[in-house]
């Protein structure tokens, strides 16, 4: 099986890797680029644990082939904090204890960030609807929603 050379931008850095055409973007991020923040929960686009931004759109990286990423701009959870400075969403998830096992957390954070960029003041139902594709089997949804609301308020300068 011949591998394909892929060049892309991940979290602002130019990267290249050799992808087997059957490998997903998630496989490539984790296995070739050592970016293991995005998780594989289901592998079929149902759980959202592998959420990343691809050319400005929130996607499940398990439903994208690595070879499709040629020339793409990708943002992952690894690019969310600014050095040691956590993103407000990351801080609020900790403050609100909006995680238990943590497996779903990177996906929730990436998805929530995408929401707040589109809508800085979402209602509770808008948050729940937007995050419906992110599953938490520890069932911590209420704390997650509160954390997103609190982060949104802080980011609007209203906290």
């Amino acid at each position: 099986m011949s591998k394909i050379h892929v060049q892309a931008t991940v979290n602002g850095d130019s990267v290249e890797f050799l992808a087997d055409p059957r490998e997903t973007l998630l496989d490539c991020l984790r296995d070739h680029l050592d970016l293991t923040g995005a998780k594989e929960g289901c592998g079929t686009g149902d759980c959202g644990a592998c959420s990343v931004m691809l050319n400005g759109r929130l996607v499940s990286s398990c439903l994208v082939l690595g070879v499709e990423a040629e020339g793409a701009e990708i943002s992952t959870i690894e690019g969310m904090a600014d050095g040691n400075e956590l993103h407000p969403l990351q801080r609020k998830f900790i403050e609100h204890a909006a995680l238990q096992c943590g497996f779903c957390t990177p996906g929730f954070l990436v998805a929530a960030k995408a929401l707040l960029e589109k809508n800085p003041d979402p209602s509770e139902s808008e948050i729940r609807f937007w995050l419906a594709g992110n599953l938490c089997r520890c069932t911590g949804y209420d704390k997650i929603v509160r954390a997103v609301q609190d982060a949104a308020a802080e980011m609007r300068g209203a906290a």
Binding site: P21, L54, R57, L58, G133
Partner: protein
């Protein structure tokens, strides 16, 4: 598996024509990649259509209609204010497909070609009178959307043929459409019944209508009896009763884990009534 990213539809068709094994086309990938992973399909050649110029475009046609590229995602469709203003029912159907993440990738054409009778974006396209442009080894043809699915998982496309665009007709004045589905949850589920209504008014009177039902037959249905029930009326209670009865009569569902037959027949009427009211309100607005 060989991965191809052709720059034109001609090139894509040539690759498919020259392939001896299993071929799959890739647009949003939200069905194909799941099938790959499940081992349901193991393509020898995977042909990615997203690098073809124009496949990401939504274009207003000279006659006021719309051409939608085959790689336009649900998120891109929903973000196009002018298209949403013309065809809110088409867009709201597509936006019910999957999660936010799936919306970032999934396409109208993919939802259509997957061939599910419960595909949420298809009834809206059928009610709208949308057509697809098909290109293949023997040239180009146009087909109404309702003729694309022939049975669950199977389309009218011949080997080597590709849908190259979806065309929505000009909306015109005093017209509206709507799509509703029934699911037992609030989001991210497969339709138990779906119904789309598109209508045109002259004053208060319905002058033209197309009504489509999903998930109640092997393919999405276009129901002429439903249209006849409301054309010439002001969508009064008597017309709505006739419409609901026609929708229930046209529904020929199976019983499965998502709902029994009798329930689906009843809900088809309920949704037709409600969707028609929304389409009517939108046409008046």
């Amino acid at each position: 598996m060989r991965y191809h990213a052709p720059a034109t539809f001609d090139e894509a068709i040539a690759i498919a024509a020259g392939a001896s094994g299993v071929t799959r086309y890739l647009a949003g990938g939200t069905d194909v990649l799941v099938q790959l992973r499940a081992g349901m399909v193991t393509p020898d050649d995977l042909i990615d259509l997203k690098k073809i110029p124009g496949t990401h475009d939504i274009t207003r046609l000279p006659d006021g209609g719309w051409r939608i590229g085959i790689a336009v995602s649900g998120a891109e469709l929903g973000a196009h204010a002018e298209l949403v203003a013309d065809w809110p029912g088409v867009v709201e159907g597509m936006e019910l497909v999957g999660s936010t993440q799936v919306q970032g990738r999934a396409t109208l054409t993919g939802n259509l070609c997957n061939g599910s009778p419960a595909a949420d974006s298809v009834p809206g396209l059928v009610a709208a009178g949308a057509t697809v442009t098909i290109q293949g080894p023997n040239g180009t043809r146009e087909l109404p959307v309702e003729q694309v699915p022939v049975k669950p998982g199977k389309t009218a496309l011949e080997p080597g043929e590709i849908i190259t665009a979806i065309t929505l007709p000009a909306r015109g004045k005093s017209a509206g459409d709507a799509y509703l589905r029934f699911i037992p949850r609030t989001e991210m589920d497969i339709a138990v019944v779906g119904c789309a209504v598109s209508l045109v008014l002259d004053g208060d009177k319905v002058t033209a209508a197309r009504i489509s039902l999903g998930a109640v037959a092997p393919t999405v249905l276009l129901v002429q009896d439903c249209a006849d029930a409301i054309i010439g009326t002001t969508l009064d209670d008597a017309a709505l009763d006739k419409l609901a009865a026609a929708a229930s009569a046209a529904a020929k569902p199976i019983s499965d884990k998502r709902g029994p037959k009798e329930f689906r027949v009843d809900v088809a009427g309920v949704l037709a009534r409600r969707a028609a009211k929304i389409a009517y309100e939108r046409a008046k607005a």
